[in-house]
Symmetry: C2
Subunit: 185 residues, 2 copies
C-alpha cells in the first residue's frame, strides 16, 4: 500500500520527499505517522526499479531538495496496483479507501467500475461471521457483551454506508455509459 500512495500522489505531479510524506500522513487522517525510515528507503527501492526519478535541485538553501518525478513505468505500475489490488487489500475497508483515493488515476472507466464491483461483492458476501459461532446464523444474534455489540453495530454501519455509495455510483456509471466514461487514449 505504501507504493500505491507514493505513486498515486506523484502521478498528480512531482513532489519532494518531505511534502510527499506530509500528504501520505494526511491521507490517513491526523495523528497517523509515516517515518522517514519507511519513506526514504521505499523511494530508493522505487528509484532502483525505475518507477521514479529523483533530481537534486541546486537551490543551495538548506539541505538540497530532491524533486521526485514518476516515470512512465511508474504510471504503468500504479495502474496495475489499482486494477488488481490483492484480496487482502480489497477486504480491508481502510485499504479500499486508499485505493479509492487514487482510483481516478486509472484511465479506463470499465476497469475502475470493476474495482468497485469487486468490493461490492465482498461486502455483500455471507454475513461477516463474527467470532467463533458454529451454531448461530451470525454472531450479532447471540452476542451479549455490550462492547462486542457496539463493535458489530459500528462495523455494520460502515458496511452499509459503503454498499450504499457503491450501488449509487455504479448505477450512475451505468446510465452514463457510452457518454464520457473513458479517459484512456
Amino acid at each position: 500500500m505504501l507504493d500505491l500512495k507514493i505513486l498515486g500522489f506523484l502521478a498528480e505531479g512531482p513532489l519532494h520527499g518531505y511534502e510527499l510524506r506530509r500528504r501520505i500522513m494526511e491521507l490517513d487522517g491526523p495523528s497517523s505517522r509515516l517515518s522517514e525510515g519507511t519513506l526514504y528507503p521505499a523511494l530508493a527501492r522505487l528509484e532502483k526499479a525505475g518507477l521514479i526519478i529523483r533530481t537534486t535541485e541546486p537551490g543551495a538553501r538548506g539541505r538540497p531538495r530532491k524533486r521526485i518525478d514518476i516515470t512512465a513505468a511508474g504510471r504503468e505500475r500504479l495502474h496495475e496496483l489499482l486494477r488488481h489490488p490483492s484480496e487482502t487489500d480489497m477486504s480491508s475497508m481502510l485499504n479500499f479507501l486508499h485505493i479509492l483515493a487514487f482510483l481516478s488515476q486509472l484511465p479506463n472507466a470499465a476497469e475502475r467500475e470493476a474495482v468497485l464491483r469487486r468490493r461490492l461483492e465482498i461486502l455483500r458476501a455471507p454475513a461477516p461471521a463474527f467470532f467463533y459461532d458454529d451454531e448461530a446464523p451470525h454472531r450479532a444474534a447471540t452476542e451479549t457483551d455490550p462492547y462486542r455489540l457496539g463493535m458489530i453495530r459500528i462495523a455494520a454501519a460502515s458496511r452499509r454506508a459503503e454498499i450504499t455509495w457503491l450501488e449509487e455510483t455504479l448505477a450512475v456509471a451505468q446510465t452514463t455509459a457510452g457518454h464520457a466514461p473513458d479517459t484512456s487514449h
Copy 2:
C-alpha cells in the same frame, strides 16, 4: 495488536494454537489471514515473557496439541494494553474495534469508560483534515474527484456511527453509575 488479540482470547479460556489462530482470523472478518509464521513465534515470545504457559497434551493423536493458558502476569498485561492503548491504536477505527472486542476483560468500569471517552475525543477533534488543503476549512468542500468524495462520505458515516454508539453507551453508563458498574475485586 497481535498480543492483545492473543491474550484477549486466552483470557476467556485456554485454547490451542490452531483454534486461537481461527478466532483471531474471524475477528477481522472472513478473508483475513494470520499466518502460522506470525502466530507461533509470537506465542514463543509471550511464553518467554511469562504471559502464557504452553502444556503439551499427551493425546497422542496426530501432532500433539499444546494447551495454552494465560498467566496472572498475562492477565495484568492484557489489562494494561486495554487501559492504555497507544495513540496510534486509538486513532485507527479497526484497532479501536479490536480493543472494544476485549474491553469487557478490563475489570474496572471507570477505566473502561475512560477508554471510550478517549476515543470519543479523538473522533470529535477538529474535522479530519483530508489531504493537502492549507486553504479550505476541510477537504470535503473543495474535493471534486468522485472517488475521493466517496471516500470522505464513507469515512464520515463510520465516524458518525461510532460517535453515536459511544455517546449512547457513555450516557447509559452515567445513569447506571453506582449500581453495578464495577466487577473488580
